[in-house]
Amino acid sequence: MFKNISGIAATLWLLAAQASYGQSEPQHQHHSYQSSGEDNEEEPMAEVSLDYVELRGDNGGEIEGDFSYGGEQNKFVAEVDYERSSGEIEKNELWALYSRAISANWNFLIGIRHDFNLETTSRNWAAVGITGESPYKFEMDAVFFYGEHGSTAFRLEGEYEIKLAQDWNLVPRIELNFFGQNDEARGSGSGLSEAEVGFRLMYEVTRKFSPYIGVHYEREVGNAADFAREEGEDVDSTVWVLGFRAWF
């Protein structure tokens, strides 16, 4: 199975590299005498970005953030997504990605996602997707996952920043998770399985640090909702959130 995943990953990688080669690389030869201009060299840059560090309701929370390192076009990205609600871990993911700028506003992503032992066991996914900003400045991530035993999943995340004042932002956020098949143990159903919607009101203390409050709503949909009902769990929940966003 792992051979399978790495094979697909390698193919996609090559496709991406070739697709972007034509438009982004200069059409002519690099001249050796241009090794001059050392003052004009771009150095790789590292960034840590904590997008959501928050408490949710009485017994929940989320940490979502990433570390990236790289140059203008190619970056290595390590991403963490940890989510807890009603005392149970919902997400415990560590990602390792290669990100490549493919157009003015979009990056192509490829890599792996590791889910640390949830109720059942750890598992790996191959991940491929895009991240960027659509016209009208909607920030979007769309990632497709291919996991063990042929399981598939798709995650769509969107975020928008409404500037109320120079240092006040209202940030609506949506996340949709789709699965290729039912997975009763995990509580995920085929098709749209869960939806999350949130609104956060952020205050920029500095450009790099914004505490916020907000409200978060999530709901199991379709088969996932049925599984939840069978378990006697709530299908949806609305909680207050309190947290901060930071980067450096």
Partner: protein
């Protein structure tokens, strides 16, 4: 007569300023800073100079910071040269990093240009580099480090070259006014902030309140239409300056608005001010409320005098103006940053005890369709600006032949008229480096620039435009351009990547000019920001429509979403640079020009 006066003024200034600079460098707080009326950098004269690049603690904002200095002063000493002489400058680098000095606007042999990586390898730590070149021009210029971001830390200074022949105007006082932008943050920190969040210093962004106000006045449909193009392109019409008064303190001759650089005059005297924008990232709008400014030179070269109320000075540009204060009152020299996030201020006064009121800053500009490169089709609402380019295109029924790389041959518009070539975006402009292309760029030659287009109407001020500039001497090289090079200034604002034709310097071939050829360079600014572009080694003869008297410049503002053309006589062999003067865009928006 005027010469003796001038010498007098200069020597007095030389004497007092040492004091001013010394106090500054000792890090005294503003309050105890002696407000010496003629404080400025020292003036060094002659033809042999020893300059030492070092660092000192300074205190400009209440916090101790390390600045880079030349002979211990910030900005560096005024270098006063004389046309026709050969100057020798021994520049000693005391920094732990490589350094360099570039003589901005001075036409020197290529290996004396001080451009690291092109004309020499830079000055190593502890080493001395000897610059030696003849002076074949006169006027106001400046010098700065061209290594890394050293310019931001203070490695700047004025150059005054006195002419051999008498000047076509006279004056009794002569002052250098160096505008610059100082930050307590290190330049590397500023650059990193821009890379990670290009809006880091922008506190004038669109908000929901604006939207509400706009919807109430214009209605939903019109608001939507006006915003659509910006929103669709993920660009902002409030993106005026990238680094702003959020971090910058704007200086005149190293003085903050509080320490108020002051110059003296006697009523009735004509005062020459040599305005130099040595800022790293700031375009200034300068005026002296109460006084008409007579512009007598641009970028060191004399022009037919033109009286204006306000001048936008792009970084790298210089203007010489003459003002004639009649009474013993005080006037503010007021230079607001283009985005109105701050100002530099000095005082011109007949009485040392007086200082003038500091005017309120003007309205904050908002970008228009024209800045988006949609300037040629529709009626101009915000401007009374003529699209001269359209007229040219009509006159010439057939267009020049384009070949690869933006070169055009044959059927070129006559010298002075500017380009009649079609706008051709190169295939390299479609990658991740380029977020926008100007579709129908207006001609920028008579555009006063972002935020100034309605100043006549709004404040009854006449703002200088490039089309006001007319050389006081006939154009030396009267040949028609043989070739035309169309270069597109490109960038991706969100990724903070800058380029020319979508290619960054490292990946691009040098631009090859033939020795002695006369050619036209047309800059098409595909970004929504003004780009002051500096060409080393040659004059850029602005095509203002009058081919007989083309004004000569070394730095040309390409207005956002607009095009502008100038003629070049490629008369000096060597390797030269053509780059944006905006410091943090320079690494990408940079080309080598090679004369073969």
């Amino acid at each position: 007569m005027k010469d003796s006066f001038r010498t007098d003024a200069v020597s007095r200034r030389t004497f007092v300023t040492g004091l001013g600079a010394g106090a500054l460098l000792l890090g005294l707080p503003h309050s105890s800073h002696p407000n010496s009326p003629t404080a400025s950098a020292t003036t060094l004269r002659g033809n042999h100079f020893d300059l030492s690049i070092g660092y000192r603690q300074v205190n400009l904002t209440g916090r101790e910071r390390q600045a880079l200095t030349i002979n211990g002063s910030l900005p560096g000493p005024i270098l006063r040269w004389r046309e026709g002489e050969t100057v020798t400058l021994n520049v000693h680098n005391q920094l732990p990093d490589k350094s360099s000095l570039h003589w901005h606007g001075v036409r020197v042999p290529s290996d004396m240009d001080g451009e690291p990586g092109l004309s020499f390898s830079g000055i190593q730590p502890g080493q001395t580099f000897r610059y030696r070149f003849p002076l074949r021009q006169s006027g106001t210029y400046w010098y700065h480090s061209q290594s890394g971001f050293q310019q931001q830390l203070g490695l700047i200074g004025a150059i005054v070259i006195d002419p051999i022949s008498p000047e076509p105007f006279s004056y009794e006082r002569d002052y250098v006014v160096v505008l610059s932008d100082w930050s307590d943050e290190s330049p590397q920190t500023i650059y990193t902030h821009l890379k990670k969040d290009p809006d880091y210093y922008n506190r004038q962004q669109r908000t929901a309140t604006d939207l509400w106000r706009e919807v109430r006045t214009k209605g939903v449909a019109r608001t939507w239409r006006d915003r659509h193009q910006w929103n669709w392109k993920q660009l902002s019409d409030r993106n005026i300056s990238q680094v702003t008064g959020e971090t910058y303190t704007y200086l005149i001759n190293g003085h903050t608005p509080d320490t108020n650089w002051t110059a003296l005059f006697k009523p009735g005297e004509r005062v020459r001010l040599r305005l130099i924008n040595a800022a790293s990232m700031t375009l200034f709008d300068l005026r002296i409320p109460g006084l008409k400014m007579k512009v007598v030179a641009a970028d060191g070269q004399n022009v037919e005098p033109v009286s204006v109320d306000e001048i936008r000075i792009g970084s790298g540009e210089t203007y010489d103006i003459i003002v004639e204060p009649e009474s013993e009152q005080a006037y503010s020299i007021f230079a607001q940053s283009m985005d109105r996030s701050g100002y530099a201020r000095g005082t011109l006064t007949g009485d040392i005890r007086l200082s003038a009121e500091i005017p309120a800053m003007d309205h904050r500009p908002v970008l228009t369709r024209q800045d988006l490169g949609l300037g040629r089709k529709t009626e101009e609402t915000d401007t009374h600006f003529k699209t001269t380019q359209t007229a040219h295109t009509e006159k010439h029924s057939y267009l020049p032949d384009a070949t690869e790389g933006g070169w055009f041959y044959g059927n070129l518009a006559a010298a002075g008229l500017g380009s009649n070539s079609p706008i051709i975006h190169q295939p390299s402009e479609s990658g991740f480096r380029v977020d926008h292309r100007a579709l129908t760029p207006a001609n920028g030659i008579s555009d006063p620039g972002v935020g100034l287009r309605n100043h006549k109407h709004r404040y009854n001020r006449r703002v200088l435009t490039y089309s006001d500039l007319r050389s006081n001497k006939p154009t030396q090289d009267q040949r028609e351009p043989q070739r035309e090079l169309q270069l597109h200034l490109t960038g991706n604002y969100e990724r903070y990547l800058w380029s020319i034709n979508g290619e960054k310097f490292r990946d691009a071939s040098p631009l090859l000019f033939r020795h002695q050829e006369r050619l036209r360079i047309t800059l098409v600014n595909d970004t929504t920001l003004p780009q002051p572009m500096h060409l080393h080694g040659f004059w850029s003869e602005l095509e203002t429509g009058d081919g007989e008297y083309l004004p000569r410049k070394h730095t040309v503002i390409a207005q956002p979403g607009s095009s502008i053309s100038y003629l070049v006589s490629a008369d000096t062999y060597g390797r030269w640079a053509l780059h944006s003067q905006m410091l943090y865009q320079r690494p990408g928006m940079y080309r080598e020009v090679r004369i073969v």
